[in-house]
Symmetry: C2
Subunit: 282 residues, 2 copies
Amino acid sequence: MPLENISCNKSAGGWHKQYTHRSEALNCDMRFAIYLPPQCAAGKKVPVIYWLSGLTCTDENFMQKAGAQRMAAELGVAIVAPDTSPRGEGVADDPQGAYDFGLGAGFYVNATEAPYNRHYHMYNYIVNELPTLIEAHFPVTDQRAISGHSMGGHGALMIALRNPERYSSASAFSPIVNPMNCAWGQKAFTGYLGTNTQNWKQYDASELMRIAEIKLPMLVDQGTHDNFYNDGQLRTETLVAAAEANSYPLEVRMQDGYDHSYYFMASFIDDHLRFHVENFNK
Amino acid sequence: MPLENISCNKSAGGWHKQYTHRSEALNCDMRFAIYLPPQCAAGKKVPVIYWLSGLTCTDENFMQKAGAQRMAAELGVAIVAPDTSPRGEGVADDPQGAYDFGLGAGFYVNATEAPYNRHYHMYNYIVNELPTLIEAHFPVTDQRAISGHSMGGHGALMIALRNPERYSSASAFSPIVNPMNCAWGQKAFTGYLGTNTQNWKQYDASELMRIAEIKLPMLVDQGTHDNFYNDGQLRTETLVAAAEANSYPLEVRMQDGYDHSYYFMASFIDDHLRFHVENFNK
C-alpha cells in the first residue's frame, strides 16, 4: 500500500503531514493527516491516538483547530486524523446533498445497502486498514487509543467497545452515544444499514456498553450549552445509564456553558491526551 | 457606537465573541472578534493584545487556528482580532480580484488614491477607532500590545513604531518588514498610496525603525522554511539591520524548519502572549 505525502508543516517541534493512499476497504483514494511528535525524529517509536471527526469534516479540521500538537509533543504521542467518509468520483452522496449523510458523514459503519455498500466501509477502514498502514509506514508502536467529536465521538466509543483488545482507552467530545434513537443516527443507519433495527445495535455505543465484557477506561466531555445535546441528538444520559447498569468505567464530565464547537474541544483536548497517555503507560 | 453581538463560545473558561458595528473610519459595517479571559467574569479589567491577521484572513482565522485562548486565560489578557480590510457592497476590490490587494488585504494604511480612499483607512481604524470602541464596551484597561502575522505583522510593527505611547510592546510572526521593497508591498502601496514612494515610508517598519526615538520591546518569529521569506517578500534582514543601526530592542528568532502557516504560529503563540504580559507588568 504506497503512500503519497502531499503536505508537511513543522508544528510544536514535530511534524504535521498529510498523505493520500488507495483504500481497499473503501474502494477509493483517501487522505489522512498524521502528527508526529519531536520524539520520532530522535528515533523513538510512539503510541498513536486515532481521532475521528464529526459531520462535514475532513482530516484537516482537528489538526487546524483543536490545538492538540503542543501537548502531543510534550507527551510524545502521534495523532492520526482520517477523513469522515469515502470520497471521489462515483462515491454516492445523500440524494439531496444533505450534510448529515453520504460524503463527510460515513458514521463509521460498514454499509450493507446499495449504493452505499460499494464504498462506505468506514468501520473496516478505521479498525483494520488504517492502523495497519500507519504501523507499517511510521515510527509508532501498536499501542492505540481512539477519540473523536460528535459523529466521530460515536465512532470512537463504538469502535473501542467492539474492539477493546485493540485500544488502551477511548474518549469523546459531544458524542452521539445512542444513534438508534436520534434523528441523525436513524437517517444514517436506515440509509447505510437498512430498516431492520437489529442490525443497528452493533453500531450503537449505548447498546454495546450494556453488554460489554472487556472494559476500557473511557472519558466523555459534554457541554451543557451544546445545541445538539439540547435537541436530543447526543443522548449522553443513555450512555451514563448503560455504564451504571454494567459497571463500566466511564467518566462523563458535563462542562458548564460549553457548546459543540472546536472552541470546546480546544479547551479540554490536553486532558484527553493526558488521559490516553496515562493509560498507555499502565 | 452600538455593537451587535453575533456569536459567543465558551473557550478555556472565558468567552470568544464576535461583534459587528458601523465603522466611521472605514465607512462601512465591520466585524471583529474578542477573547475575554475568565478573569473578566470575576469583574477584573484586563489588558488587550490586538492581533492583526494576514492576507485573505478575517477575524476568524487567528481565533480558530492559533490556539491562543488557553494561555490568554492563564495570563488574564484579552485578545481582539479585527478584519483585514473594509468589507461590503460598494467597497472597491482588486480589479482582477487578486488575493493580495483590496478585500482581505487592506495593509493597515490610510489610502489616498481613488477609489480606495473611500473606505480603506485601516490605519485609523486599528490605531484609534477600534481601541476606543473596545475600551468603551468591554472590561479592559488601556494597556495595549499589538501583534500579527505576515501582512498583519507588518501592520503590528509599523503601528507600534508610529504610536509607541499607545502600546507596551509589539510582536509579529513572519512579518512583511520592508513593504517598499517587496512585490506585495509595492503593489499595495502603489494602489492605496500612489506612486510617490516618499509617501510609503510612513508605513514601512524598516524605515520607521531606523529613525524611532521612543523604543518598545519587540519580538519577531520567522520560520526558515517559509516560502514567502525565501521568495523575498518578508525581508527580515532589513529590519535586523535597522534595529542594529538604531540600537532598537528587537529580538528576532529564526525558527528552524517552520513555514508561513498557522501551525507555526500555534507553536510559538504562548511565547508571544507571555512576552506581552511581562511588558504590561513592567
